[in-house]
């Protein structure tokens, strides 16, 4: 196996009063998309800041490309989008991108050429001479995204890249991330949006309270979780189903969304038994499917909390 792009070994980081990351180990292999999943406050951003050498670990060691130097020394190979977005508000968009390229070591003329290309690709070329503060939050985020990628880094680290974006812009960003990975480069991004992670990531690590709870390829994580899972879709009234879904002999775990639900079958119970019981009770079904567990379901089971139940992360960086 080739040298991992990021290697975190038994890293612990404590802040006054609490431990943000506790004995965390993970390896991001070279190439592909790696998702760092976890609820708010799980330690995702701290982990990323440790990887970026913005914070120093109290214990353990971190290596990038097998090199344990400060990430700043390898900065030309790394692109970073911090969770707290920040740009110089008074700078013109194009100048700002050129500056971000220059501090990564790209010659000015080349940085300008690439910046223009990015602005066109992100469909904000018309804003090139506007001040950053005149742009909407979503546009600012695109500018910062382009700034992180301008120097064509082989490792791209994105902290919550899709938060605060409307679906259209999120789609544009997603396409770019997928394209980077398709080009053989490595993307590491953090998110608490499980469905998106499930669709995009080759590998994931789920962390909660600073600890790793699951790790590996998406297929591995699902296989490790085990059990048989059923996705249900209700047609109309569903309260007759409540008693059946609460039966511990049939259902081990229920993830209820109201009009739909995902559940894990109890040990020894067959999906057919469940279907028979539901039909007998007269529950109208739109969907009944034996499925792989979703990352969301695994997440909820492992972490014991719904990632979406907590308030969405403040996009304070972009809003400020």
């Amino acid at each position: 196996m080739s040298t991992p792009s990021v290697s975190v070994e038994s890293v612990t980081k404590r802040f006054a009063g609490h431990t943000a990351v506790s004995d965390l180990s993970l390896q991001v292999p070279s190439g592909g998309i790696y998702g760092l999943l976890g609820p708010n406050g799980a330690g995702k951003s701290t982990t990323i800041r440790l990887i970026m050498s913005i914070l120093q670990p109290d214990e353990g060691r971190i290596a990038l490309f097998g090199d344990s130097r400060n990430s700043r020394d390898l900065s030309a190979r790394i692109g970073y989008l911090p969770e707290e977005r920040g740009l110089y508000k008074k700078m013109r968009v194009l100048d700002h991108l050129v500056f971000l390229g220059e501090v990564k070591g790209i010659a000015r003329a080349e940085a300008k050429r690439r910046a223009q290309a990015w602005l066109e690709r992100l469909e904000i070329a018309g804003w090139a001479q506007k001040k950053v503060e005149d742009l909407s939050k979503g546009m600012q985020q695109k500018v910062q995204f382009a700034g992180a990628l301008l120097h064509e880094p082989e490792l791209v680290i994105l902290d919550e890249p899709f938060s605060g974006l409307d679906p259209i812009n999120a789609q544009v960003m997603k396409d770019i991330v997928v394209e980077i990975a398709a080009g053989g480069r490595t993307v590491l991004f953090s998110t608490h949006a499980m469905e998106q992670a499930e669709r995009m990531c080759d590998r994931v690590a789920i962390i909660a309270r600073g600890k790793l709870v699951a790790n590996g390829t998406v297929a591995q994580v699902k296989a490790d979780f085990g059990g048989r899972h059923v996705a249900l879709g209700f047609a109309g009234d569903r309260h007759q189903a409540d008693a059946i879904l609460a039966d511990p002999r049939l259902v081990a775990r229920l993830d209820d969304y109201g009009a739909s639900a995902e559940l894990k079958m109890a040990e020894g119970a067959e999906p057919g038994q469940l279907l028979a019981a539901l039909v007998a009770a007269g529950v109208g079904l739109r969907r009944f499917e034996v499925v792989e567990p979703s990352l969301h379901a695994i997440f909820v089971a492992k972490v014991g909390a719904d990632p979406d139940a907590e308030p969405l992360p403040a996009v304070a960086g972009a809003a400020a």
């Binding site: 970073y80 920040g86 110089y88 700078m91 070591g105």
Partner: protein, 438 residues
């Protein structure tokens, strides 16, 4: 190095491009000119011809020579000369003195509006005047020290002439004896004449100190606000993953410094152009050629310019990095101001010390301060322009400046490294010490 250049360019361009830069570039000279010219204009009592009524109740014919002396006084020299006084004699006796005097004061008044007949002042000579030199002047310009001194000088001259004549001294001899001393001062450096007058070299030193003071106060402190802005806009995290604290610090201080220098260059350049046109401009503003001469720009000896620029650069970098370090420690400008006071105080001490140096540029105070990096940028150019500084002292002082700069940048870099990512409460002195040692 290229990265530092990118930071310098950014800091420079973003600053020079602002409206605030344009406005301050235009307005400050206007303000400073007003500060310099207005008091001088007000204090000089004006350069117009003063109409004086001389009431002679001396009984000894004192009025005639006094009026003659006043008529001889001129504003300016040579062909441009105009009479300083328009004096008219009113003979009187001890008995009707008060009546004549009050009549002149009341009839004409001192209002400018009374035109041809308005007296600017009434001079009263009585019987005692010749012996005691005591006389009275009633006028609307009595609070102008310069005008009154000049009037008193001119009258003294007339009195001395009359007294000598009474003592039987020949009139021609008196005229010869009364030719005043006219002293020109010139500065000597290393046994050579520099061609500068004493007044000019002080003015030059003062101007340089003032430029440095203004530059540090306005631009040095801007590194502080700029660091705080970067912290608050959270761009710091992107920067710190690409740039070393040293690159960020030096780029910022140099970029801001260059913006400051640009503004200074515009001012100084304009001043030189205007200085060359001084007499024309003075005429346009209704000032006499003599008043314009006061604002002429003395030529700067090349060595002094080199010394000044060296100290200016070193001083600016030292103070700039100190301000940047304070910015890194704090989260709000208000918070930073508490720490910045210490830096501002030492700038003030350095600036104020210049005035102490005027009397004794090579004294213990001047020598000591030349060796303290925080003060030397103010002290040394003043000493250099006013007296001959031993080369060894200059070398030692510059050496200490460089060491001081390295120490400041190192210290600021340490604080910067930790401080720029610290949000929330400001550090205690103990924490600060830990940042520096870490």
């Amino acid at each position: 190095m290229n990265k530092t250049l990118a930071v310098i360019r950014r800091e420079y361009v973003e600053r020079v491009r602002t409206k605030a830069f344009l406005i301050s570039t235009l307005l400050l000279p206007v303000f400073m000119l007003a500060m310099a010219v207005l008091p001088a204009l007000l204090m000089s009592g004006g350069d117009h011809t003063t109409r004086v009524a001389v009431v002679d109740a001396s009984g000894s014919g004192l009025g005639q020579p006094v009026v003659a002396a006043l008529k001889a006084a001129t504003i300016g020299h040579g062909r441009a000369a105009r009479p300083r006084y328009d004096a008219t004699l009113f003979p009187a006796t001890a008995a009707n003195l008060a009546q004549v005097r009050d009549g002149l004061i009341a009839k004409a008044g001192f209002a400018k509006g009374s035109g041809q007949h308005g007296w600017d002042g009434v001079l009263v000579l009585d019987a005692d005047t010749l012996a005691s030199g005591k006389l009275h002047y009633y006028g609307d310009n009595v609070s102008s020290p310069e005008g009154m001194n000049r009037l008193q000088r001119d009258i003294s001259k007339a009195l001395a002439g009359v007294r000598l004549a009474h003592a039987g001294v020949d009139q021609l001899l008196v005229a010869k004896a009364m030719v005043p001393a006219d002293m020109d001062t010139a500065k000597v450096t290393d046994g050579k004449l520099t061609g500068q007058s004493g007044e000019a070299s002080f003015a030059l030193a003062y101007a340089m100190g003032f430029i440095l003071y203004i530059a540090i106060i306005t631009y040095g402190s801007r590194t502080l606000t700029s660091v705080i802005e970067e912290k608050n806009s959270r761009i710091m995290e992107v920067l710190t993953s690409s740039l070393t604290p040293f690159q960020m610090l030096m780029g910022k201080v140099l970029g801001v410094g260059l913006a400051g220098l640009t503004q200074m260059a515009i001012w100084v350049g304009t001043a030189f152009v205007l200085g060359g046109q001084g007499p024309h401009l003075a005429g346009a503003f209704g000032m006499g050629a003599e008043a314009a001469g006061k604002f002429a720009i003395p030529s700067v000896p090349p060595m002094l310019l080199v010394v000044f620029l060296l100290y200016f650069t070193l001083g600016f970098l030292i103070y700039g990095s100190l301000y940047a370090a304070i910015g890194a420690m704090c989260n709000t400008i208000q918070e930073a101001q508490q720490y910045a006071v210490f830096v501002t105080m030492s700038i003030l001490v350095g600036f104020m010390s210049m005035f102490g140096l005027i009397n004794d540029p090579s004294g213990a105070l001047g020598t000591t301060m030349s060796f303290i990096p925080l003060f030397a940028p103010f002290t040394m150019p003043v000493r250099w322009s006013m007296t001959a500084v031993p080369p060894l002292q200059l070398a030692l002082s510059l050496g200490l400046m460089v060491l001081g700069l390295l120490a400041c940048v190192w210290l600021a870099g340490r604080i910067y490294r930790t401080g720029i990512l610290m949000y929330g409460k400001k550090p205690t002195w103990g924490e600060l010490w830990r940042w520096i040692r870490a």
